[in-house]
Symmetry: C2
Subunit: 362 residues, 2 copies
């Protein structure tokens, strides 16, 4: 840990690998001998083209995507994808299935409805405050896609295995767990992920789309809302957020070259989450809020005996250099977000702090 | 000029003040004692709230906006605004006037048409390859707005004075000249500007909207495409592009504290443009392409006697540390973009180089 840096458990924007930040910092006035900052180079320059294409190649290699998939970079975050997905894929007479597992799924459902599209909410865990992932869901065979949120940052739940949707492709919001584990890519028609949790900073959304899904896109929708625009122009129809794409490239490089790929990342993430959950389960002072089988490996949500103690906990942790532990303002409590760039050492430090805090206040 | 930095005449993303880049670089691992990078802090943190609000206050002060105006930050660039403007303001039965002064106006017109909105192209300079700004235009009194592109980066033209539209508010794409000169703000209903030319990096668009225009926004459009969403949440409905907003804040601070405000910026920009145009006019080797009365103070477009010489010119300039002088791929020729952050010294160096090149090749 560098002097003055904290262990960052923010839910997003979140911790980034220190080596990535250092590389951006070092090249900030002069990127690769161009004599310009990454903020100043042309998005049509050789320098940026290399960055963009390297980010795409690394994404394909890490997720083992074949040539049936395209990797796009779009602004507007996952929130814009909530409307782009139904706008692009649900023309007149078509419908999609949605599974509601929390705040973000609910928003995705809402945007499809605003557009007047036909969708079916085929399962929901709202009956138990979204503390679990629904099972044994019956999907419509004629659905164009099944929409799920793979990890729920606010409620701390995650699909451990993706549902069997038969021949219907899954469209998944993976904002908070993309690149945290291996994927069975053949199940997916489209994956989208705001970068600011596992793969980069705020300001860019990675979209992975299967070629045949692009055939569904109507020719008459606004240019900036059509996946065809990004697919046909390699995400360079208009000026992309260059620094954000550059950061994603460096994070993926770190993931491949420093961590050693997705399998190793998955093992490490499992170890981090287990370290934290095992301690929580061993304590009567801390209570996990998600159903054990549905627990997220990315966002560990827990409560203390009362809100006053939770407030003290968050504050005392920050004073010890452990930041971002407050739960989402909509649910309260505490949350440790332990995305890819959060080290095992950070998690162990947190557990040590939790033990000490319990001793003092338990 | 710092060692290894070039004079950057890129059309966008473009040069930024070196002091701004240095401040970002210095704080890149630890923003304001937070122990986190600007890429890692929460968008709901005290630190980011201060950055965002300071950017808004400086915008209002620089442009002398009263409380009837709101300043928003939206992703997707000007290209997304092309569709947001008609989607938000043209409900059933309403129409708008558009003036076509080049590539970007043409795109704005196209997006309104894709949405099926009623618009009138009341003037165009397409008849002379967009080399001038139309005059004596008759606008429709019942138009909801008049859309113009205040500066045309590709053709090198600019509205020296904004048209008299009576009581109809102007909606202006000011991506390439925002903050380059003072404004008569009372003429405008909405101003939008992709940041990557005069006020920051790619990845954020500044939108200045007059309160009464917000009353036109229908309640049933997608959340991320509604100005109401950004206005009611101070641009924090979803995660904003934090680094881009931070850079805008620092550029505006530089504009106020180092340059001394918009009047001084305007004077300096005038001097830079005059220096370059006066030299071009004195030469038979270089030919300006825009009509003198319509010339842009931001993008100086010119031709050399033939394309082979233009190619040599761009290459030789780069070898002398003068970058980004190639004209837009759609029109060819040469172009020097001399936005706010491009110094008079850079322009004088360019003129010196142009003289020497003419001597060798003229």
């Amino acid at each position: 840990m560098n002097a003055n840096r904290i262990f960052n458990f923010n839910p997003g924007p979140a911790a980034l690998p220190i080596s990535v930040l250092q590389e951006i910092q070092e090249s900030f006035l002069n990127l690769g001998g161009s004599g310009m900052s990454i903020l100043e180079i042309s998005h049509r320059s050789k320098e940026f083209e290399e960055i963009l294409n390297d980010a795409i190649i690394r994404t394909k290699r890490l997720l083992q995507l074949d040539d049936n998939f395209q990797v796009l970079f779009i602004q507007g975050g996952a929130s814009l994808q909530f409307l782009m997905v139904p706008l692009n894929f649900l023309s007149e007479g078509k419908s999609a299935d949605y599974v509601n597992t929390g705040t973000w799924s609910t928003k995705a459902i809402k945007e499809a409805q605003i557009l007047g599209k036909t969708i079916h909410v085929v399962a929901s865990s709202e009956d138990q405050n979204f503390s679990y992932i629904p099972k044994n869901i019956r999907f419509h065979e004629d659905a164009v896609y099944v929409h799920i949120t793979s990890n729920n940052t606010i409620k701390g739940t995650q699909w451990a295995r993706f549902p069997d949707t038969g021949s219907v492709p899954i469209v998944a919001d993976m904002s908070s767990d993309i690149m945290s584990r291996r994927l069975e890519v053949e199940k997916f028609g489209l994956i989208y992920a705001g970068a600011q949790k596992n793969i980069g900073p705020a300001g860019v959304c990675m979209v992975i789309v299967r070629e045949d899904m692009l055939d569904l896109v109507p020719p008459t929708i606004p240019t900036m809302l059509s996946y065809q625009t990004y697919a046909s122009k390699n995400s360079l129809f208009n000026t992309p957020p260059c620094l954000a794409v550059y950061t994603v490239q460096l994070v993926l490089k770190w993931l491949e070259e420093t961590i050693g790929g997705l399998e190793k990342m998955e093992t490490l993430n499992h170890k981090k989450a287990t370290t934290l959950y095992d301690f929580i389960d061993s304590s009567d002072f801390y209570q996990g809020t998600a159903e054990p089988q549905s627990r997220s490996l990315m966002n560990v949500t827990f409560r203390l005996p009362n809100e006053e103690l939770e407030k003290q906990f968050v504050q005392a942790a920050l004073e010890q250099g452990l930041g971002g532990l407050k739960g989402h303002r909509s649910v309260g409590g505490c949350r440790a977000s332990i995305y890819n760039a959060t080290s095992l050492q950070a998690v162990e430090s947190l557990v040590d702090f939790m033990k000490a805090f319990e001793k003092q206040n338990g």
